[in-house]
Amino acid sequence: MLGLEQYREAMERCSQCGYCQAACPVFSQELLESYTARGRTLLIKAALMDGDLPVGKRTKEIVANCLLCGACAHTCPGGLPLDEITVAARSLLRPGGPAASLRRSLHRKLMEQRGHPGSLGKLGPLGKTLGLAPADLPQPAARPFLADQPLVLRPSGEARARVAWFVGCAANSLHLDTARAVRKVLLANGVEVALPEGMACCGLPALAQGEVDLAQDLARRNIAALAAQEVDAVVTECTSCVLMLRDKMSRLFEPESPEARAAEDLAPKVMEAGAFLDQLGLSKTPRGRGISYTLHQPCHAAGFAQQVQAGLALLEKVPEAGYRPMADPAACCGAGGDFFLKNLALSRGVRRSKLEQIEQSRAEVVVTPCPACRHYLGLALGPDKVKHPLAILAGAYE
C-alpha cells in the first residue's frame, strides 16, 4: 500500500478547482501555487509517474514542503487522499547512502522504543552542542513513563470501564506531565487501564518520512498488542495517534488483507482520552481552581474535531476555568511533526499568526492534545503556557 501508482485514478480525478489553496498553511506563506495540493499532485504525476519532467532538486523541495497536516484532503470537494499522495511520493524520493541509512536505523530504534532513545539520549545534548542537532529538538526525559508502570492500572473501588491506553511517544518520553495527568483522570473516574506490552510508535512519523515499510512494521506490532485486549475502548492522549490508529492504519495494508481487517476492527474503538471520559461522564467532581484556557485544535484532528471538542467540554466542569476561544482554533501552528526543525522560516511564519490569535484570546494557557503543537507553541510562549487539556482537569483533582 501507499505505492504511488495506486493513487493514479485519484490524481486523475482532481478537478484542479484549487480550493486546496484555502486550507494549506505552506501555501499561505509563499502563495506559490506549486505548493498547493493541486500543484504538488500535478508535479508528482509528471515527474515521478509519467516521466514528463526529470526528477530534480526542485521536485524534492516541493514534495518536502508539506506539513502533512491533511487540511487539503479535508477541504477537497472530491475527498481525494492528497496527504497520502505526498507520503507515497516521499517514499519514492527517500535518500540513499550510508548517512541516510544510519539515520533510518536510528529512527526505527526510536520508534520501536516509544520515542525514548535509551542510552542514545545522551547524544542529543552533545549533538546540539556540536551543532549537529537542531537547538529546538526536544530533550527526552531520563526515564520513560512506561518504565515505571504496571501492565494494568486499577482504580480504587469498582471499575466503571476498562480501556487500553495507547501512550503516545511524546507522553512516554517528553511530556511525562501529560502521561501523569491522563493516568490520574482515568483512575479518578473509575477507569481500569491496560498498558499492553509490545506497543510501538503509532507509525505516523515514519509515514511523514516516506518510510512506509517501517510504518507497516510498527502497525503490525500495535495491532498484535491491542487486538487481544478485551476493552471498551482504546484511548490515547495524542491526536496524531488517534488519526493513525483510527483512520490511517488499515490503509497501510492491501484492502481485505488480514492486517487491514484487524486494523478496521480496531478503528471504531479508538478514541481521544478526553472524548472517552466525556462519554463515560465524570464520577469525580473537580474542585480545585482552574485557569482560563484557549484551545488550539491540531490539524490531525480535522476528521474527528468533535472528539477534541468533547475533551474540551470536560473542562467546563472545572470551577473558575474559563474557555476563551481564539479566532480560528483549527489554523495550523506551523509545527507539522518535526517539519519546523527543517523549515525554520516557513514554520515561524505560520506560527506568527497563531501566536497573534492566542494573544488576542487573553487566555492564561493554551490547551492542545498534540505534543508537536505543544512543543512548538511552547518554544515561543514558554513551556508552562501550553498544556494537554486533561492536565487542567488533573490539576483540579489535586
Binding site: R13, C14, S15, Q16, C17, G18, Y19, Q21, A22, L31, L32, E33, S34, T36, R38, G39, L42, L43, A46, A47, L53, G56, R58, T59, I62, T75, C76, P77, G78, G79, L80
Partner: protein, 463 residues
Amino acid sequence: MRGLAKDLSRLVGPDGFSTAPEDLLVYRHDAIGYFAQGDPAAVVLPADTAQAARVVAYASQNGMPLTPRGAGSGLSGGCTPARGGIVLDTKRLKRILEINQGNLTARVEAGAVLAAFQQAVEAQGFFYPPDPQSKSVCTLGGNVATRAGGPRAVKYGTTGNYVLGLEAVLPGGEVIRTGSACVKHSAGYDLTHLLTGSEGTLALITQATLRLIPKPPATCTALAVCPTMKMAARIVSETIAGGVVPSMLELLTTASLAVFNRFVSPPLPEEGEACLLMEFDGTAQEALRQAQEMAAACRDMGAIDVRLAPRPEEAALYWMVRSRLYPLVVSRFKRVVTEDVTVPRDRIPEFVTQVMSIAAELDLAMGLTGHAGDGNMHPTIRMDEINPDVEKRVHQALERVIKAGLSLGGVISGEHGVGLHKAEFLELELGREQIALMRRIKKAFDPTGIMNPGKIWPPELEA
C-alpha cells in the same frame, strides 16, 4: 532563459518569481483540469503595484505575452498562458487597504481573497454580496476582471455592480487610477467598467475601490424538492414575476440531495428531477415570512418536500455543500464540461426544455444547475469516457445550447467570462461590428498585443 531569470530577479527580487518547470506546471491550468494551455517562461509574484508595473513594462519592452492570474479558479481558461510568456500572479497583492465605514466603500489589492474580504467587511456590519462559489480562494482582482457573480446576483447583482474605481497598470507600465470612491461619477468615459470584465486583455488591475451595503440582519434558507425540472423552472419564473425576490435562488439536480444528506437530518427524499435552494434576507421576521410564503407556493405547485433552515448554522451547511458541488461532480467523472449561458428569467422554462431535448437527441448525460434566480444556467455535460465521437457530440451540444440561449435573448456567459473556451462563440452573440469595435479599443490600450493574448476572440478575429 538565464537572461530572463536574471532580469526578473532585478525587477522583483529572487523570491518574487520562478522559472522552474516544476513550479510552472500548475500555472498552465485554471480550474478546468483536463485543459492545460501554453507553456509559460516564468511566474512572477510582485509584492506591490510598483513591482507589478516594472514587470508589465519589461514584458512590453521585450514583446513577451503577459497573462494576469488570480487564484486560477476560473472556468474559462482565461488565466492560462495560451501564448507562453509571463504569468503575472497577483496573489501577493493581498492587502485590504481600507474599509471606510462613513462612505460605505472599501479599497483592496487585486490578490485579496474574496472570503477573507467578506469576513472583514461583515465583522464591521457591512455586506459585499458578490459570491462566486470559489469564494474561499478566488481573488477580487479576478472577480473584477471576469465580472464574476454567484447566487446572490438575483437580488444584489454581480461584481460589476460594486466596482467604483480601479488602479491598473497599462501595458506600457504606466499606472492609472480610474473612477473614484464616489457613488456618482459623470466625468469622461467609464474606464472603470471598461476594465471590469476585460479579462486581463487591456491592463493589469492592481487595486479596486468597491461599494459596500449594510448587512441584512437575518437570513432564512429554504429547500424544495421538485418532481420535474420543468416544475422547478416554473416555480422560479413565477416567483420572480410575483415580486418575491430571494437573496439566492439555486436550481440543482436531485443528485445533489445525496450530498446534502451527508450533513442534514432528517434526510431529504432523494426523488424527482430537481431541487431549489433558496435564501431570503431582511429582518428575522421578514426573512422567515418570505421563506414560509415561498414554501407554501412550492407545495401548492407540487413540490415533494420543502424544508426551512432558519438557523444560521444549519443554513451554512446547505450553502457550504452548494459551493462544493461543482468540483465534487467533476471529481466523479472522466471529464465534465460546464457552460454559463444566461437567459432572461421569464425564459428559463423554455431554456430548460430545449437543453433537455438537446441532451436526449445527442445522447449525452447533461445536468442542468444554475443560479436560476438570475437566469444564469450551468448546463453540465458529464463524460464517463472520452473518444472522438463523444467529443464531437459534446461540441455540438455546447453550440446548440449556446444558440438556444441566444435565441431566447440570452448571453453566452453570465459570470465566468469568455476566456479561451467561449471565444469561438463570441461572434454569435456580439456580431462582427461590435467585435471590430472591441478590437480597436484593445489596440488603443495594448498596441503590441502583450496582454493576455489568445483570449476573448478567436485567432482569426484577432488581426
